[in-house]
């Protein structure tokens, strides 16, 4: 899909969520859904297979998100999948998250961790990243077992890697 089209979808989703007054929740849920979409081949195939009828793909979205996300989130994802743009969901959602963060003058900070972070940890991490980058950040935590331990934070083009995985890889390459 072209950049302009991705940007168009992201803007539309952003405006709908803002109009509904659920922008924070929706962008958070969409961000989590995008990461799940990226990490699951089965989900990707189910939502992008042209041979599967659109209604059925939308049914998959509703059964997956229905109980765990707001109605707006479910409808937005269902709309994108229904228009045959399921393949571009992560790009559209990332653009939406960036737009939502910009609207609040925040930088998106994607943090990968092997285990979930407590609210306190997230608050302190948010403050630490703001201190390190000089920007207030919109913290997005992704549970990624491949990190093994520690955290990897990405703010814009800056990557702060404190993961056990990277240390092990460095050790392996040194060996």
């Amino acid at each position: 899909m072209s950049e302009a089209r991705i940007e168009g979808y992201a803007r539309a989703l952003f405006e709908i969520a803002r109009a509904e007054g659920t922008l924070d929740e929706v962008e958070d849920e969409l961000f989590r859904f995008a990461r799940a979409y990226e990490s699951s081949d089965a989900l990707r195939n189910a939502l992008t297979d042209e041979m599967v009828p659109v209604e059925r793909r939308q049914g998959v979205v509703e059964s997956l998100l229905g109980a765990q996300a707001t109605a707006t989130t479910v409808q937005l994802v269902s709309m994108v999948v229904g228009s045959g743009r399921g393949r571009d969901l992560p790009a559209i959602i990332d653009r939406l998250v960036a737009r939502a963060s910009q609207s609040k003058d925040l930088a998106v900070a994607e943090v990968r961790s092997a285990v979930a972070l407590s609210d306190d940890q997230q608050a302190r991490l948010r403050a630490a990243l703001a201190n390190a980058t000089g920007h207030e950040v919109n913290l997005k935590v992704v549970i990624d077992p491949s990190v093994v331990g520690g955290l990897v934070a990405t703010v814009g083009d800056t990557v702060i890697d404190g993961s056990v995985r990277t240390r092990v890889d460095q050790l392996k390459s040194r060996l």
Binding site: S113, A114, V115, A127, N131, V148, L151, G162, V168
Partner: protein
């Protein structure tokens, strides 16, 4: 006394023959004169034509003789050419046979050399393949060992990294990031 003297002497009747084989005298005279006249006329008028015909015939025969001689000479020349050519053919045959022998020898020698080179090349390639296979197997083995080692180390790490360790790592990260500016 000859017959004419006898006739002139009137001793013989010119109208009668003196012998049954011999014509009468008058007939003999007139006949002789007529014959002479005829031969004279023949000589006078037919002679040139006859002489010309004879000369032509002679010339024709001479021409045929000359042509025959020329044909014979030509045939002899051709025979000589053929004999010479036959000699040349034999020499050419010998030359061609010698050349064919030489070429066959060269081909054989070249074939032997090529075969030897190919055998050497095949042996070298087989050795290289063998070495590559050994190296590949070694690489695969090393890769597999590395993979297994990584898997084991990941499992060990996962076992080692219990919740307190995870929390410690997270806290360490937050502290480290917070202290940098």
């Amino acid at each position: 006394m000859n017959l004419f003297a006898v006739i002139a002497a009137g001793e013989i009747d010119p109208a009668r023959s003196i012998h049954w084989l011999w014509p009468a005298a008058a007939e003999l005279i007139y006949g002789s004169l007529a014959s002479i006249l005829i031969f004279g006329l023949l000589y006078k008028f037919a002679g040139p034509a006859v002489r010309k015909a004879m000369a032509d015939r002679t010339a024709k025969i001479q021409g045929e003789l000359d042509a025959s001689a020329e044909a014979r000479s030509s045939a002899e020349s051709e025979a000589a050419d053929i004999r010479r050519a036959a000699g040349d053919i034999a020499a050419e045959r010998q030359r061609l046979l010698a050349e064919a022998d030489s070429q066959a020898e060269a081909l054989l020698s070249e074939g032997r050399a090529r075969l030897t080179a190919e055998i050497a090349d095949l042996e070298a390639r087989a050795e290289a393949d063998q070495a590559a296979a050994a190296s590949r197997v070694g690489d695969e083995l090393r890769t597999e060992i590395s993979r297994l080692a990584a898997e084991v180390s990941d499992r060990l790490l996962a076992d080692t990294l219990d919740d307190p360790a995870q929390q410690a790592l997270i806290e360490s990260f937050i502290q480290k990031v917070g202290s940098s500016s």
